[in-house]
């Protein structure tokens, strides 16, 4: 039984109200919508607050916010808004019953045959009158076909369950003249799915043709008679080439499923022939039997995955789409929570760029902050400094469940599992969807993430991670009195270099991990124009991501063969469906982060942080400005994230991977623990000395170098740097170094490019 929303386990006020905005990035003059759901009916009001800091973990500065517009919504009647998860394909009705004898043939690859619910693979089903037909899997993983009218249903079930992750050729032949039905499954690979071929025949009630002909075709789920949920019995698995023939299929017809779609020959033209190899980069499916007949996908079933004809000869779906004529459905995917808008806000034209939230408050202290970034208006004057909010990374982490779902996480953490309220809530509310760090219920990694739902990585007062961690930089910028704009990855991807033009320096947050090709190219161009880049985090510039070309709220990540990742991308699935680009780490793609910021990921660990020790390069006159007023040799042996400025995920320079030859490595961290481990791409094989105590290359490098045209780069190579800024009332060497670098980088005086090392 699902847990009701807002179960009140963490006090009366937590998660009683949840919401999400229509966009994460909005400009002055534009309107943003807020979609809100309440666990119980309540009336709430909303203020617009500017967020300076959200991190309330022990030792952190705590929540700092200022009301800038009180009462942007008043006396709103909040109510529960349902969310439906699970993917499906929907196609319009098609007349089929004039052909009294006909067959569906298709290939299926069930990935979770023994689920806790029945699964419908294909159906034309009117739940209100309980009329129609459905092909599915029962609780034991056995294929069934059911049909009937008005609740008088008959079902035929095979006795041999399917083998998970194996392809089957399936045929159902119905004879409406006498109700005879024949159902069969043949494993595509009899060796790997031995003894699972099966057939059965029965006489079943015949659903009325005129009604069946008006019903839409659904794949991956069956319609309900309710407003919520509208769909049920979601299928976990793949479907390839569902085809409706106007006669009784024979084995030779089933064999056509092994033939490329364009070369199939049938005794009569199919009534319907769905070719999922067409428009793979969209949510449109095409019926090649009927001109202009298309259907649509809902809730993010996966495309660009190998189908029944894939034979490992092709790895890129664009090179041989017919090998990729499969769609993978899941019972736990989500594109759009589809909540109705409760209220809107038009951003005042004079509102300064920054991080804001609609702060919703209920009668008993229930509270929710729906965060978003106000960017500078297009064409408006830019401040010298831009803080780049890592919205692509926030979207990747979104609603993470991996600490609850992956039993290896306790060993990775080096501590007993401690589940915080936000993790418990997400664990018990699976309807809010998954993150790109999670696996689907069938064990396959998650490829897509959507902003159109409550996204917990955009929350404040939670783990020092994602947006919450980046507010430590906003807090510090405000504390030091810097004048800055906040821009976002989403904006950078949409506008490219234009988003960066006018700024002297771009400062990243703690973890700018995900970069689309367009974002990457824009940052390279910014550098080439003399722009200065302060990379204030770790594990940055790591994975390539792909934004949906038409739906900016969607992002895709295929992780390919290496990198620190929580699930393995199966063979043949390494090219993004949205763009056709090869996925994975930028290092593997051929442009390591060392070429952009001088350092790249070397290790991760989450038990404790450490400190940096200055290196001889810190005495180079070129680096003098960095250490002005810093006399200590040890940097950052304090902070509220693990007790040090070097931690969580750390990066190092590597001249073989593209760290510029003239780069100065001014400091290096040391004394990391055994629970730091070198990332897979840093060690081609595993051995006992890849931990922080023993590994040769398990440290963070602090790097500075000049770029062409007066530009420069400064990198800390550590996620926890920002959590040390506020220590001792912001008076510490991490804060001092950051301030020294930012003041110099914001100064228009060009950095001279060194003529010799």
């Amino acid at each position: 039984m699902p847990v009701p929303p807002g179960v009140g386990r963490f006090g009366a006020s937590m998660y009683e109200i949840l919401g999400y905005p229509s966009t994460w990035t909005v400009a002055p003059g534009e309107t943003i919508e807020f979609k809100v759901s309440c666990a119980q009916p309540l009336r709430y009001y909303a203020d617009l607050v500017r967020i300076r800091c959200g991190d309330s973990s022990p030792g952190a500065p705590g929540l700092k916010e200022t009301v800038v517009l009180p009462g942007i919504a008043r006396n709103i009647q909040g109510r529960h808004q349902p969310t439906e998860i699970g993917s499906r394909a929907i196609a319009p009705a098609l007349a089929e019953t004039a052909h009294r004898v006909r067959s569906w043939i298709l290939a299926i690859m069930p990935t979770l045959p023994s689920s806790r619910h029945e699964q419908v693979i294909l159906s034309r089903w009117d739940a209100t009158s309980a009329t129609g037909y459905a092909l599915g899997l029962d609780l034991q993983g056995c294929l069934f076909w059911e049909q009937g009218e008005g609740g008088q249903l008959g079902r035929i079930t095979l006795t041999r369950p399917v083998v998970a992750r194996q392809w089957y050729l399936v045929a159902v032949t119905v004879d409406d003249r006498n109700g005879e039905v024949a159902l069969s499954q043949i494993p595509a690979n009899p060796l790997l799915a031995s003894c699972s071929d099966d057939t059965a025949q029965a006489t079943l009630p015949v659903p009325p043709g005129p009604l069946v002909d008006t019903l839409p075709l659904s794949m991956g789920a069956a319609a309900t008679a309710h407003e919520s949920p509208r769909w049920e019995r979601h299928y976990n698995g793949r479907i390839d080439s569902p085809t409706l023939l106007p006669y009784a299929a024979e084995n030779k017809d089933l064999g056509q499923l092994r033939v490329a779609a364009c070369e199939r020959r049938y005794a009569q033209p199919p009534l319907s022939a769905w070719d999922f190899s067409q428009h793979i980069d969209s949510d449109i499916i095409v019926d090649t039997a009927v001109a202009w007949r298309t259907g649509k996908l809902e809730n993010l079933p996966v495309r660009a995955v190998p189908g029944v004809r894939w034979n490992a000869s092709q790895m890129n779906w664009r090179h041989c789409p017919d090998h990729y004529a499969a769609i993978h459905f899941h019972d736990d995917s989500l594109e759009d929570a589809n909540w109705e808008t409760d209220f809107c806000l038009t951003i005042p034209t004079d509102l300064a760029s920054g991080l804001y939230a609609a702060r919703l408050t209920g009668p008993n202290g229930e509270q929710e902050r729906i965060t978003f970034i106000v960017r500078p208006a297009p064409g408006a004057a830019r401040k010298p400094i831009a803080f780049l909010a890592s919205t692509a990374t926030y979207l990747a982490y979104s609603n993470s469940h991996y600490r609850l779902d992956d039993e290896g996480m306790e060993m990775k953490a080096g501590n007993f599992m401690v589940l915080y309220p936000w993790e418990v809530y997400l664990g018990e509310h699976r309807e809010l969807g998954l993150s790109l760090y999670d696996t689907h219920s069938d064990g396959y990694g998650v490829y897509y993430s959507s902003r159109r739902r409550p996204v917990f990585s955009m929350h404040l007062q939670c783990r020092t991670w994602s947006l919450n961690a980046d507010t430590l930089y906003l807090d510090w910028l405000d504390e030091k009195g810097f004048d800055y704009d906040v821009i976002t990855d989403d904006m950078l991807h949409e506008e490219g270099l234009q988003a960066l033009e006018g700024y002297r320096v771009v400062m990243t947050g703690a973890h700018p991990e995900y970069w689309s090709t367009r974002m990457w190219q824009a940052m390279v161009a910014f550098q080439q124009q003399g722009g200065r880049l302060m990379y204030m985090g770790g594990n940055g510039f790591y994975w390539r991501c792909a934004y949906h070309p038409e739906k900016p709220w969607l992002m895709e990540v295929r992780r390919t063969e290496t990198g620190a990742r929580y699930s393995e991308t199966p063979p043949g699935e390494s090219y993004h469906s949205y763009t056709g680009e090869y996925g994975g780490t930028w290092r593997r793609i051929g442009t390591p982060p060392q070429t952009l910021v001088g350092v790249g990921t070397t290790a991760t660990g989450f038990d404790a942080s450490s400190y940096y020790r200055r290196l001889p390069d810190s005495n180079d006159p070129r680096a003098a400005f960095i250490f002005e007023g810093v006399n200590e040799e040890i940097i950052g042996n304090f902070g509220n994230a693990g007790g040090g400025a070097a931690g969580d995920e750390i990066d190092r320079a590597d001249f073989r991977l593209g760290t510029p030859a003239h780069a100065l490595i001014v400091a290096r961290s040391e004394k990391h623990t055994r629970y730091y481990n070198v990332v897979p791409e840093e060690t081609t094989y595993h051995h006992p000395t890849i931990n922080g105590e023993e590994a040769r290359n398990c440290y963070a490098d602090m790097v500075f170098y000049e770029c062409l045209n007066g530009g420069a780069v400064f990198s800390t190579g550590s996620i926890t740097w920002g959590a040390s800024l506020a220590w001792n009332g912001y008076d510490n060497n991490v804060s001092r170094i950051t301030e020294n670098v930012l003041r110099r980088f914001a100064n228009p005086t060009p950095f001279p490019f060194p003529s010799k090392n």
Binding site: E407, M411, T673
Partner: protein
């Protein structure tokens, strides 16, 4: 998989006086073993009030199942970790929890 030895019981007392920065290797090995195990039914620590109150919880059988919380609350994470250490030892180790540790 490491098989817990009788002499490992002697290491337990160092759990409260060390951190991952200075733990003996043998204690780390023992703790790794006590952290391993399937998730269904696993005992964990649940923070019931951010950073100020903790409880021992039991994970459900399936994804989405509610986490069952014990009634006892701990005001320090260290106390909750000690309680969990004892539970894990009792469920995984074939040897009794040393009487002089409580």
């Amino acid at each position: 998989m490491y098989e817990i030895q009788p002499e490992d019981a002697e290491l337990l007392k160092y759990f409260r006086t060390t951190t991952t920065k200075n733990r003996p290797l043998k204690l780390n090995r023992l703790l790794n073993r006590l952290r391993m195990g399937p998730l269904p039914g696993k005992k964990v620590i649940v923070c019931t009030k951010p950073y100020s109150e903790y409880a021992i919880g039991t994970l459900g059988q399936y994804r989405g199942d509610p986490i069952k919380l014990d009634e006892k609350r701990y005001t320090s994470l260290a106390d909750a970790q000690w309680a969990l250490l004892k539970l894990r030892w009792e469920s995984i180790s074939p040897y009794p929890w040393p009487a002089d540790l409580d």
